[in-house]
Amino acid sequence: MAAAVKDINLDPTFADIDRSVRAIMEPPGLRYWLWIGFLLALTLTGGALWTNQIYNGLQVTGLGDPVMWAVYITNFVFWVGIAHSGTLISAILYLFRTRWRTAVYRAAETMTIFAVATAGLFPVIHLGRPWFFYWLAPYPNQRFLQPDFRSPLTWDFFAISTYLTISSLFWFTGLIPDVANVREIATGWRKKFYTIVALGWQGSDRQWRHFSMAYLLLAGLATPLVLSVHSVVSWDFAMGQLPGWHSTIFAPYFVAGAIFSGVAMVLTLLIPMRWVMGLEDLITPWHLDNLAKVILLTSLVVSYSYIVESFMAWYSQDPIELMTFHMRYFGPWGWMFWVMVACNCVIPLLLFSPRIRTSTVPLFIITIFVNIGMWFERFVIIAGSLATNFEPSQWRFWHPSITEMGITVGAFAWFLMLFSLFARFMPIISMTELKEGITWLKQALRQGYAKAA
């Protein structure tokens, strides 16, 4: 704890915390609305392109045999991955009583919700007949015909929807005391809104009692869930027998990758946010440092996975497998692989230096690289393996189209828009947990760690 005591800021009283967080939620200015408007425009563009795609069929994409999955599924996996770090920070670290999570977990979890919401769009977008997407869900119908529960895509459907539900519940539960807090000072429509959202929370002992238990259990449920979800996503590929997909390490490999990209995305969002909103005294370098360490660790795990994957290909001596990997490194799309290696394995090594870990600008740049690298990783695995399949006569490499690019950009805008809106209208930092944390630490200092725990 010594390090923590040194780094963490113990001065703020409950009142200070409330003041600074409530300050964020003052009615925003023009610059904010311009930003939102910009994002909205991009989102709508993406929506228009999608409408056109539904109307004209998938011919507007660049897809073709054999690369029938490319950008859309890559985006799907990418966003699901992003989502994971949120749950990691809010649930898993909660169970470990990690203290540095308190300041950042609300932001991270919000990111989770919106990332899943974004990811959930892509399986529908990529469908040939999106208007029938509900056939993946079991529902009563006159033919008694239900989805095939053996299909990884059905697993996906269940996993993603469960994940979205559970993290929303968890997120919502955590929000209630804070909303009740801001309810007390809010005025006008906000007052009404917060009053309804807070469900009449007053923080009585009885409410806290059940709240705490439920919060604990939700965290307990979310923890295996987060691991399962990305494993299931990875099985979309591992279950296929396509060389480059058919690999047993995919589940842990993808989960690590997910945490990696997710935490990077958290920093990508937090660093500008704390600067714009003046949260330097709540989100301290100490937090950034810890997050950076997580990135470093997962980066090493991911690099290890790359090595194992290639080793297995070599060790199997299966010519088809070998050829797939040869093409992955040196084929027409080889550059993507090397971009990915650079971004995911080499650049993060800089984080071994504590100075970089705590200085915002370099950290920010590194996280951007990580995001790019992880997007390419998914593309290389998905599209690259498809392009070099079993049938040499049926190889073919894919060319992007405006539609795919536009929808991808639109998705990013949609995500950022939701996040920005939330950050201004809801407590983006959990006051309750900050207070709890500080109280806890004060006691810890006074009475020694063991007694307080």
Partner: protein
Amino acid sequence: MSAEVELVGAFADEERLVHCIGQLKAAQTRFRVFSPIPSHHINSAIYTRSSFVRWFVLLGGITGIVTAFMLTIGTSLEWNLVTGGKPIASIAPYCIIGFELMVLFGGISALTSWILLANLPTFEPLSGYRPRFSSDEFGLVVRCAEADAERFESVLRDAGAQEISREAA
């Protein structure tokens, strides 16, 4: 029987509050605590048994698993369509559905159960609540016979309540 009153004491510090709770429990009076933060000190000071929520969650989880296997196996047998030469009711893949539904049902029952057990949603505030109890102060509301009011006021004051107000119940 004389009329009852409520004493509302505001505390800045959690430990004092906890100490005070101990005394009130000893005095076997009825009281309620408002707190801006979840505190297991307060919780354990008041309650001996832990919340029922966990039983609801267990129930939800089990329901989830059962539903999942009934759904998957049932619908497969309804049509017995062979895919990929796998058995009609192939258990292994269905376990994944089982797991997901267990988590889903468990989570939903966690939320509903805690909200209901906590008497939420409600829009009639509990007596003795002050807005700052959601922000930076702990509140201790004691309900006692008018006669005992002074005694408990002193208890609160000694415990370190910053201010104490009295209102008719």
